[in-house]
Structures are given as structure tokens and as C-alpha cells.
């Protein structure tokens, strides 16, 4: 794989919040880290001082049994006060956690974008919901969201438990079959953010990434409008031949391209494949070379994935690639 295949390089870092939810959690992290560091230094310090100042002894040294007859009140007082301090610190942490939970739950939801995310082994299916059903559209593995507007992600799973985690924007939430969960987030800075499945889900759990592009609202709306369109009719003869390959070989059994007869839901929706930056659920750059390798033998790139190898003659493969490149 190339060293820096995506430019700008997406972030996947909980310590660089780019949204209000991650920022709340980041503040709690700073407070907790500070408090815990102080406790660590104090307790370890006490231990080290004890080690340093205590006289040395051997196995034959007479043991000191004075504590069995005379109560060690001063020692007990110190321990008591230390325990009290510890309890107070813990209460403070509890209060901070409750405060942060409330802040997370109070994200204003006016004008929210609603996305329904369904986890599959090992890719993300996304359906953008709308009050007007004709304005809904499907995509996979890459989400665009507007900066400054809240996003409500409804989480369901098609098979096993997955977990959506976009560390720069929010904490994670599990996608559990038979249950529906909700994650609320908002990007406050434009950029590319990478997420990853955070619950072990089988052979290719390591390769189930998600790219989130946060962009200004007008750019987002333009993108959404493009997504609502069916696939453009290919102008080029080679691309048209590519579409025939698509419909005549295995592709049509699993993938959807709106505007054609390909309407299967087992694999990701490819209607606007060419507009994505990555393929294979955020793992490889979306360029001709990688796409060719992926189509020819996905098992060598992502062993265990459900997509089979496709032994296409070179001219058919090239035509198919040309067609896929028209799916902007």
C-alpha cells in the first residue's frame, strides 16, 4: 500500500476533537488525566519515600510487634484522611462524568441530517433519510456531512455486532442485530475523518473503515443532490461495453447501480462509486490500479471478504473499469 494515499490525510485520533461531542469527551479526558496523574505521583511518592527512609533489615531481624499491643492511631488517622481524599476525588470524577453525559445528550438537533447506517461483514451501508422519501439515497463506506449541522446516525446490524467509531467526532456506539441504537454528532471543522469498526466482527474486522468528509453545507447539499441522481448513461462505447460486463457477470448478483437493472443489496451500492476516495470499506485508494486488483482478486487484498475473484479477460476488465469511472 502507498505511504500517504489520501490527501488530505484523514484523522483518526480521539485527542484532536473536530466536533462538539468529541470536545466534551476531550475535556473530561484532560480533567481525569490530570487528577489521576496527581494521585499517581502522590501514592507512588509515598511508597518511594517509605522505601528510602525505612531502615534495612534481614531475615533474622527481630520483628516489631508493638502494634499488636499499642494501637497506631496516628497511622490510622493518616490512612483515614487519605481514604477520605480518595473518595472525594472519586466523587469529583463521578460528577464530571454525569456532567459530560448530560452535555452529550443535549446536542441541539434542529435541522439534523438523518443517516441510517447498517453494519455488514465487513462494510458500512448508509441510507440518508429525508422527510420526503423521494429525496432519500443510499451509499456505502463514505459519508459526507455538513459542518455545523447535527447528524443523527441510526445504527442497525445485518449480521453480527459491529461498532461505529469516528474518534475525532464522537465516542463509539455498537451496532447490535435486533436492536436500534442512535449516535448524535456534529462536525465543527471541515476535514476528512476516518472511523473504524470497533467491535470484533470476524475475519476482516481490521479492514472495516469508514471515511467521513465534513464540508460546508452548500458543498454537502451539492454532493447529496448528485447522490440522488441515478447513474449517468455512459457516453463512451467502451464504458457501455463495461456496463454490459457488469450486468452479464457476477457483479449484478450483489451490487446495485440505480438506473440499471442491477438491484442487489448484498454488497455496497456502486451508483456513485467514482465519487469516493477509497474502496474496500476505506482501505485502499479508489484508483484504476487498486480497483483492477480488487475486482480481479479481492481475497489477496482482504482475505475472507465475501466478494469472489473475477477472472475477466483483460479487455472486459478495462471496459468495466472505464464504466465504473463514469459513476461519479
Amino acid at each position: 500500500m502507498n505511504a500517504v494515499f489520501l490527501d488530505p490525510r484523514p484523522l483518526q485520533d480521539a485527542l484532536r476533537p473536530a466536533g462538539v461531542q468529541a470536545a466534551h469527551i476531550g475535556s473530561l479526558w484532560n480533567l481525569t488525566l490530570g487528577l489521576c496523574a496527581v494521585v499517581f505521583v502522590l501514592v507512588l511518592g509515598a511508597c518511594l519515600v517509605a522505601l528510602w527512609r525505612a531502615p534495612r533489615a534481614g531475615a533474622g531481624t527481630e520483628p516489631d510487634l508493638s502494634s499488636l499491643s499499642r494501637p497506631e492511631r496516628r497511622t490510622w488517622r493518616v490512612i483515614g484522611w487519605s481514604t477520605g481524599l480518595a473518595a472525594a476525588g472519586l466523587l469529583a470524577l463521578l460528577a464530571a462524568d454525569v456532567w459530560t453525559s448530560r452535555a452529550l445528550a443535549r446536542l441541539p438537533l434542529r435541522d439534523a441530517v438523518n443517516i441510517e447506517l447498517v453494519g455488514h461483514m465487513w462494510w458500512w451501508e448508509a441510507r440518508y433519510r429525508d422527510a420526503d422519501p423521494s429525496r432519500e439515497f443510499s451509499t456505502a463506506n463514505e459519508l459526507h456531512i455538513p459542518v455545523g449541522r447535527p447528524v443523527v446516525v441510526t445504527l442497525r446490524s445485518n449480521d453480527v455486532i459491529h461498532s461505529l467509531w469516528i474518534p475525532n467526532l464522537q465516542g463509539k456506539k455498537d451496532l447490535i442485530p435486533g436492536r436500534t441504537a442512535t449516535l448524535r454528532l456534529r462536525a465543527d471543522r471541515a476535514g476528512s475523518y476516518r472511523g473504524q469498526c470497533a467491535e470484533f466482527c470476524g475475519l476482516e474486522h481490521a479492514m472495516m473503515a469508514l471515511l467521513v468528509e465534513a464540508e460546508p453545507n452548500d458543498r454537502y447539499e451539492a454532493w447529496a443532490e448528485r447522490q440522488r441522481q441515478p447513474a449517468a448513461e455512459p457516453v463512451d462505447a467502451v464504458a457501455r461495453r463495461g456496463r454490459e460486463v457488469f450486468l452479464g457477470k457476477s457483479c449484478v448478483m450483489c451490487h446495485t447501480i440505480s438506473g440499471t437493472t442491477a438491484n442487489a443489496r448484498f454488497g455496497p451500492d456502486l451508483t456513485h462509486l467514482a465519487g469516493r476516495r477509497t474502496i474496500a470499506s476505506g482501505m485502499f485508494p479508489n484508483n484504476r490500479g487498486h480497483l483492477a486488483g480488487w475486482i480481479a482478486d479481492p481475497q489477496s487484498l482482504k482475505p475472507g471478504v465475501n466478494m469472489p475473484a473475477n477472472n475477466l479477460p483483460p479487455d472486459e476488465l478495462q471496459a468495466l473499469l472505464a464504466y465504473l469511472e463514469t459513476l461519479k
Binding site: D159, L203, S250, A264, G304, P308
Partner: protein, 176 residues
Amino acid sequence: MTLRPYMPAVCLIVLLALYGCEREQRPVKAPPAASGLGDPSYAAAGKVPVSNRYEENAFAVSQGKTWFRAYNCNGCHAAGGGDIGPPLMDAKWRYGSDPGAIYATIAFGRPNGMPAFGQHVPEDQIWQLVAYVRSMSGQLSGSVSPNRSDTLQAAKPENRREKEKPVHEATPAAEH
């Protein structure tokens, strides 16, 4: 304290490691197909008994079940009980119950409505489907057949089904 009494256990484990277990392997690269059908015709399918290596592999049979759902075989065959297509979990077989015949059915289609999937479904996936279809009537061992799925249940899990004795019946006349 001596380690000598543990030696038999150690030797056993080493031997087992060398032998390996076919049933549990996760074959992600398609192996060479089971004595492949070079000649694409029904006649050829009947001539030489073909064995399906995937019949011994639990993962492959479970993959077959995944394709069965993904490619909407349920649309005509329901979950084996049959609908506009014939049932697959009973003892009656129109075109043969051996793996080669089932492969030919799926790959080349049959009269009376079974489409040919050979162009659309890769060969090793068809073999996995063949193994799964045979498990639907209990032909495969309990350790290899799929267990219950995480859905509403249509029938007993495949590994709990009685092994049906295949009966070959004549092809019915075309229905129109």
C-alpha cells in the same frame, strides 16, 4: 516431580498438529474445483460421479447458505420447502441428487424455470451452494451442516434434519 507422565499427551498433540483438520479450515482462496466439469453439458454431468471437496468443510457449507440467501434462491425455493420451484429439503430429486448433477442444475439451469447461474456465480461458490443444497435434506454429517440461523425459523436447522434417502423421479411436463 517428573514430566514423564505428560509425554503421551504431548506426543498426541504434536501428531494432531501434523495431521490438521480438514473440516474446520477457512478456505478463502478458491481451491481447484472438485474434479471439474470440463464439458459443459448435462450428459457429461451424469457420466462420471463427481465428489465435492466442500462437503467435508463446515465453513464452505455455511458460505453456501450465505449465497443461498444472498442470491435469492429463497425467491423460488423458499427455505427449502419449495414455492414455484421444487422443494429442496425432501427426498425427491428430479435431475439427480449427486453433487455433479446439482452443479449442472445451478450452472446451466434446467427446463421448467431454473435459470442458469454459471455466468454470474463463480465456480467455487456454486460448489459451496451444491454442498449446502445437499445439507438441506440431511445428506451431510451433523458436524458439517449449518446450525440454526439468527432469524425467524422456517424449518429445523440443517444439522438436525433426518437424512432423506434420495428418490429420483421423472421430470414433470412443462407447466403452462
